[in-house]
Symmetry: C2
Subunit: 417 residues, 2 copies
C-alpha cells in the first residue's frame, strides 16, 4: 500500500484502475446522457424522396419564367400531395400540385412555390414569383443516406442523437453501462434521516450527498446502510456491496485506529492501493480494489465537506470514465481573486468559493469558514479554488484555477438575442 500520495498521483492510480464499463442495450428514449458503444450506420435514406420544404405548390420552374407580382402565372391545380402520400401521379406542362411540407415532389415537378406567393382560385392557382429548379425542395438523402456512418461509438447522446436514432427506426442501442455505486456510512454516532438525534448522534447525511453526487455524475447509487463499529457489522454491510462497480464509504473504512477495518477488507479480498493524499480537505482517503472481480473501493473521510470534495476529485472522474465519457472533469476556469487566500503547510488545498461574473471575468470569494465540518459552505460554493501545494498565499487581484461545481453557474440571464 502506498502512502501519502499527491492528488495528481492518487488520481492517476484511480483512473488506471478502470476503463469504460461493458455495454448494455437500452431503449433510445432512455439514451440521453449516455455514451454510445457502437457505430451507428443508417439503413435508411432520409428524406426517402425529394420532398417539399414548404406548404405550397409543386410545379415546373420553366412554367414560372417571368412570373412576378404584376404578371402572375396561372397554373391548373392537377392534384394534391399530402405528406405521407406516395408520388404516383405526375404533373404536366401548365400544371401544379398542391403540396404540403414533407410530401414527395410529384414526377414532372422540379420546384415548390410557397403558399404565401400564390393565390388559389378554384381549380387554378396564380403564382406571383419565379422559382429556380429545386427551390423549397429537400433532395432525397439530404439528411442521411443508407450506409452512412451516422454516429460514432463514444458519442455522447443528447436530444438530437435521440431524434436521429428514432428517425432511422432504431429503438434500441448499445451504450456503456452505468456504474452501480454502493454507498455505506460507518460509525456508532450515526442515525438515519428519521432517527433520534439525542446524545450527540448525527444523521448519516454523507450517504445522501454522495448518492446525489453519484446521480449528478450519471451513475446509479444504492445505499447499504450504516455499519456499526464492529468487524462483524462492517463485514455484513460490505458483503452486500460486493456486486457493485464502486463501493464508497464515508468514514468506517478508514485505516486509522479501528484495527479491524483492514483485516475485514482483506478477508473479503480487497487489497488497499493507497492511503492518504496530500490535500485538504480529504487527507485520510483510502483506495482499494478487489482484483478482477469486485468493486473499486473508496474510503472517504467522514467529515461532510471532506467526503464531498474527495468524491469530486477522485470518484466522479472515475465514474465519468466508466460511463464512457472522454472529458471526465469538471469545468475549470481562471478566476480573479477578490481577497487574499493564505494557507499553512505544503498540502494542496481546495477552497470553497463563491463565483460571480464581473464583465468578462469571473471573481472568486471564500465562502468563509473552511472547516471541513461546515457543510453549509459547500452549499454556498459554486466552485473549489485550487490552492497549489507549494504556495502559501494567493493575492487579491491575482488569478487562480477554480473547478466549477455548480452546473447552473454557466446558465444565462439573457437569451442571447
Amino acid at each position: 500500500m502506498r502512502r501519502s500520495l499527491t492528488a495528481a498521483e492518487a488520481l492517476a492510480v484511480v483512473l488506471e484502475s478502470a476503463g469504460p464499463l461493458p455495454l448494455e442495450r437500452i431503449l433510445v428514449r432512455d439514451a440521453p446522457g449516455r455514451v454510445l458503444g457502437e457505430d451507428v450506420v443508417s439503413g435508411r435514406t432520409l428524406p426517402p424522396a425529394d420532398c417539399s420544404a414548404m406548404d405550397g405548390y409543386a410545379t415546373r420552374s420553366e412554367d414560372l419564367r417571368g412570373a412576378a407580382e404584376a404578371s402572375p402565372v396561372t397554373l391548373r391545380v392537377a392534384f394534391e400531395v399530402a405528406a405521407g402520400a406516395s408520388s404516383g401521379s405526375a404533373i404536366a406542362v401548365g400544371e401544379a400540385a398542391r403540396i404540403f411540407t414533407g410530401a414527395p415532389v410529384p414526377r414532372g415537378a422540379d420546384t415548390v412555390v410557397r403558399q404565401e406567393d400564390t393565390s388559389r382560385e378554384g381549380e387554378t392557382v396564380l403564382v406571383r414569383v419565379a422559382a429556380p429548379p429545386r427551390e423549397n425542395v429537400r433532395p432525397a438523402g439530404e439528411d442521411v443516406r443508407s450506409g452512412d456512418l451516422v454516429l460514432r461509438s463514444g458519442s455522447r447522446l443528447g436530444p438530437a442523437e435521440v431524434g436521429l436514432l428514432a428517425s432511422l427506426g432504431r429503438s434500441e442501442i448499445a451504450v456503456h453501462q452505468r456504474p452501480r455505486v454502493a454507498i455505506l456510512s460507518g460509525g456508532d454516532e450515526l442515525v438515519e434521516i428519521d432517527g433520534d438525534p439525542a446524545q450527540g448522534r448525527i444523521v448519516s447525511s454523507n450517504s445522501h450527498s454522495l448518492a446525489a453526487q453519484c446521480r449528478e455524475a450519471g451513475a446509479d447509487p444504492f445505499y447499504l446502510g450504516i455499519a456499526r463499529d464492529t468487524p462483524d457489522d462492517l463485514e455484513a454491510v460490505l458483503r452486500r456491496g460486493l456486486g457493485a462497480d464502486v463501493l464508497v464509504s464515508s468514514a468506517g473504512v478508514s485505516v486509522g485506529d479501528r484495527d479491524y477495518v483492514r483485516p475485514v477488507l482483506e478477508k473479503l479480498g480487497c487489497s488497499l492501493v493507497f492511503w492518504g493524499v496530500r490535500m485538504r480537505p480529504g487527507h485520510p482517503l483510502v483506495f482499494g480494489r478487489f482484483g478482477e472481480r469486485g468493486p473499486l473501493v473508496f474510503g472517504l473521510p467522514g467529515n461532510p465537506v471532506s467526503a464531498m470534495v474527495t468524491f469530486e476529485q477522485f470518484v466522479r472522474p472515475l465514474l465519468r470514465r466508466q460511463l464512457g465519457h472522454s472529458r471526465i472533469f469538471r469545468p475549470t476556469l481562471r478566476a480573479r481573486l477578490a481577497e487574499d487566500f493564505r494557507k499553512k503547510g505544503d498540502r494542496l488545498h481546495f477552497v470553497r468559493v463563491r463565483l460571480e461574473r464581473e464583465g468578462a471575468e469571473v471573481v472568486a470569494r471564500s465562502t468563509g469558514n473552511q472547516s471541513s465540518g461546515v457543510l453549509r459552505s459547500m452549499s454556498l460554493a459554486q466552485g473549489l479554488l485550487v490552492f497549489p501545494a507549494e504556495e502559501s498565499e494567493l493575492r487579491a487581484g491575482s488569478h487562480a484555477t477554480v473547478q466549477v461545481l455548480d452546473e447552473s453557474f454557466f446558465a444565462g440571464d439573457e437569451p442571447g438575442f
Copy 2:
C-alpha cells in the same frame, strides 16, 4: 392573434404567460435539480456539542505546554470517547481521553492532539506537540445553529443541499412542481419508431427529440401519439393532453392550410396568442393558451431542426421558469468566427455551429448544410450562433454570440491540479 413577432417579442409573450408552478412535497433524495419552495430553518444545532475533528487524544492545552519532539509530555489515558458516545466522563489534570473524529470532547478537555503526534504506550500516551485551546475541536453550532435560516426559497438543490437537509433530519421538502409536457406529432406521413417506412413514410422522430429536450430541461414529458390529418383525430389526441402544463405539437397544430386546426383548438377552449416569429429556422411557430385552466400550447414547425430550435428558444426557458429557476437561459458566450457567415433577408437566424477552444477563445464553425431538415447537423452542433436580423454578413475573425446547447462543452480535459 398577433402575427410575425420578433423572437424577443415572442419570448416576452411566452414568459409572461407563466410563473413557477405550485409546490409539491418530495423526498429529499429526489431533490437534486429541483428548486426549493420554502425557507428551511434549522431545528438542530450541528455539531450538537464541541467535538473532535480528528482521531487522537482530547486533553488540556495547559498540560501540553512545552511539549515537543525532544520533550514529549506523558498523559494517562483515562477513557475512550467514541463518536456517538455521550460525554459523561471528565478528564483531570495529567489525563487524556482517546477520541475519534466526530466524538464529543469530554468535560475538562479543551484541545485535541492528532494521533500522528502521539505514541501510545499501554495506559499512557506520549504527546510530542503543544496545542492551543480549541485545536482540532469543532465548536457546537459551527455548521448550523437551531433557528438559522439554512436555505432560502428559490435555491437550486444539489448534493450539498441534499446533505444539509438530511443533516437537519428533513426527509421531505417543498419544491416547485415539474411541468408535465404533453407531446404530440401530426401528419399522415408519420409512423412510430417501429413502424413501416414504406412509401415515403417517416418516423415521428420529433416526439423523441422533444421528449429528450424536456427531460434535459428538468420537465416531465408524456407522449400523446400521432394525430392523423383529420379534425376528429386531432381533437381526440389533443383532449388527452389537456391536463398537462404545456402541450407541444410538432406540425399538426400549424395554422397553415389545414383549416380545421384552429377551429379544433378553439372548440377545446384554446385561444391563439401569436403565429409566426421572424426567425429561421422556426418561422411558423404558434403559441396559444387555455385561459386559467389548461395547458400553454406550442405548435412547433415539423422540420426536425426547426422543432428543436424553437423548443430551445421558447419552450425551454418557459419550463425552467415553471420549475422555479431564476436563470432560465442557456449559457451564451462570444465566439470568434472561423469563417464568413452570410444570410439573406431580415430574419434572425440561428446557425448550427461546432465550437472549439483555442487558447482563451472559443471558435465557431458552421456544421455545414443549414437546411432545417438536416437533423444530423443538430447532432454535430455544440451551439447556435445568433445571427442578428439586421446583419447580412458576419466576417471570419469577428465575434458573435453563441448559445451553448451541449452541456458537456464546458467539461474539462484536465482536473485543474
